[in-house]
Amino acid sequence: MANRIPRVPVREQDPVTRASNFDEVCYGYNEKEALLEASRCLHCKNPRCVSACPVNVSIPEFIAHVAAGDFAGASAVIARDSSLPAVCGRVCPQETQCEGSCILGVKGEPVAIGKLERFVADWNMANGSQGAVKAPSNGYKVAVVGSGPSGLACASDLAKMGYEVTVFEALHKAGGVLEYGIPEFRLPKEKVVAAEIGSVKALGVKIETDVVVGRTVTVDSLLDNEGFSAVFVGSGAGLPRFMGIPGENLNGVFSANEFLTRNNLMKAYRDDYMTPVYTGHRVVVVGGGNVAMDAARTALRLGAETTIVYRRTEKELPARREEVHHAMEEGITFSMLTNPVEILGDEKGWVRGIRCIRMELGEPDGSGRRSPVPVPGSEFEIEADSVIMALGTSPNPLIARTTHGLETDRRGCIVADGDGVTSRPGVFAGGDAVTGAATVILAMGAGRKAAAAIDRYIKGL
């Protein structure tokens, strides 16, 4: 059956205007648009979207509530499986998950599941009942390390089961990557992140900031001295990677983590905050993931002419399609099939440019993607005042080093099975600390599975 209604476009801030502000780019659907878009869902008997969602949200069911105008009902359906719907509606790579599996996508445009989820979550924050019910305590304490997506998802599920959950956060603010990594224009901090964390706290979850597990306390001391029955480690993938090319320690070379943390967590873009940030006039961002897009679009908003260099082609960019599209609309230059070989400095040790080499795609590598190979003699220079390296991260070794009997793999990731069970009884792990850098929703899925495993462990099942 063909669907006659085209996908309802979402309203966005004008690209020229938004290139110089940090307000949210996407306005989201209003009620009328949401009702129309929801009417497009075919309610497949065997909904492929649900199995493509890492936390298996009952998508057709919530969309049916939206189509019927029952937004509170839709919200309740999503809440069964997701503790951060307003976040996921904004940052999930829907095109490779739920929407990528939507049957409508075969011949046309898939249902805008992400935008509908966001609509429901925003509606609920504005109108919904805020009175999340605290479950009666079952007397067991569980510690969660890290207040990012996996930690929050794990904590919510455990709290709903009656556990007394304390989340330990190393930074001064809860949220992990939602707070330090993803910019305001993509994920508003007060309106969305703080509000969703508020609803996790409403379940009775305690969040203790300024505690670095592995330094301030250890996993061992939480288990042995503080009466926690189990610990979930969701500490994220912390350490920024650099390329190992000459000039990376010049003034004006930053990791995307540093650049984004200064802007997002420390609000350097606002005059009323003291943290400084430097872009200069021309910025080159190295990398092709969401973090590279975020860094480039942040630099642009701070007034810099911005270029993204990536060693493969546009087709291989790992970033969400919407982010790439937005970055292009905003006027960021994409230099594809380009790989840096050296960062060039002036006589005072500041960046003045970056020497790159052209690449071409060769044979497919282990990941099935064609690997880029340098074109001999094709080196050229791009002028730049600063260079931001967005090449991914590796796990922070702090917890593994200070926890007895916790096994890690060659890359330093904590070894855990699909349920988050590690080599140390009572210690569970999930998210980027286990997988290396991935997505918000995969981390949430891991947190939820670990919560179920922790419940089984404590009950001795």
């Binding site: 190393a170 920024p240 540093e258 003291m274």
Partner: protein, 289 residues
């Protein structure tokens, strides 16, 4: 919130505060640092731990007003609270992992410059407690800027003072006094530890190398999170990039590329200057503290 239980000015520009932070006090060791964010709008400022009291649950910090953020810290008073104090961060000094047996036969010399004298104190106190003979050089521009003389005298074997202008003690730089102690006075040391301005640590390391004494330095690099996440603190040590916040802050002074470290320390000088002017202006019009 982290309450300031006591505050005193050691010089007109250097203040000492005891801050209630029980978890931090419980785990802190000599050589480690902490990060303070004074209030919602402030920076995250790394400061070396200058002392800790596990029973009282307090840590001591010593701050010199050198810019807007450090001035802001010093503007807080007894009974006020900082929004955030997190730590201990970084690795403790190597000797904290050594037994009495391993430390026997060692003789340390500490070279302390300016406000860097404060973090030397817990190290000297620790070694003194382990029965290790320790000499200390405290250097400052002039007599009025010397700090921690009495505290240090009570935990070290010999305390030597030097001032750039000769207003107290040895007239000259700490490196001059260090070399004199070894070459002229016949002292021998198994290790030197230099903590102070980057330029002082550079020259102290050169002197130590000349004298054949291993030297440890504590690098006060730029940092944001202090947990290894941002990489702002990267320094070249022995030709390799290291993160001062998680692998340091103490490194082998022979191996540190001090020129690069000094250059990187000045990365935000323009912005810091602007911030300082803004801060002073706001204080004058009464918005600041």
């Amino acid at each position: 919130m982290f309450e300031i239980v006591s505050k005193e000015m050691l010089t007109p520009a250097i203040c000492r505060m005891k801050v209630r932070a029980p978890r931090l006090a419980q785990s802190a060791l000599p050589g480690q640092f902490l990060i303070i964010r004074p209030d919602e709008h402030g920076e995250r400022i790394p400061l070396t731990v200058s002392d800790y009291d596990r029973e009282q649950g307090t840590v001591t910090i010593v701050t010199q007003k050198i810019g807007a953020s450090t001035s802001e810290i010093c503007s807080f008073g007894e009974g006020d609270s900082f929004s955030d104090v997190v730590g201990p961060l970084g690795m403790p000094s190597d000797f904290t992992g050594m037994t009495r047996g391993e430390l026997s036969g060692q003789r340390y010399i500490f070279i302390a410059g300016g406000v860097g004298t404060a973090p030397v104190y817990p190290q000297v106190k620790y070694l003194h407690g382990m029965g290790v003979p320790v000499d200390v050089i405290i250097g400052a521009k002039n007599s009025g800027l010397l700090i921690y003389k009495d505290e240090m005298a009570s935990v070290c074997d010999h305390l030597y003072i030097c001032t750039d202008d000769g207003s107290e003690g040895f007239h000259g730089m700490v490196t001059g006094l260090f070399e004199k102690l070894v070459l002229e006075d016949g002292n021998s040391y198994t290790r030197a530890v230099a903590i102070g301005p980057m330029i002082m640590m550079k020259f102290a390391s050169l002197s130590a190398k000349k004298l054949g004494i291993p030297v440890t330095v504590s690098l006060n690099t730029l940092m944001v999170d202090g947990t290894g996440m941002c990489g702002a603190c990267r320094v070249t040590v022995g030709g390799k990039t290291r993160f001062a916040c998680v692998e340091g802050p103490e490194f082998d002074g022979y191996e540190v590329d001090f020129d690069e470290a000094m250059r990187r320390q000045g990365m935000y000088r323009t912005q810091e200057h602007d911030a300082e002017e803004r801060y002073e202006h706001e204080c004058k019009i009464g918005r600041g503290r």
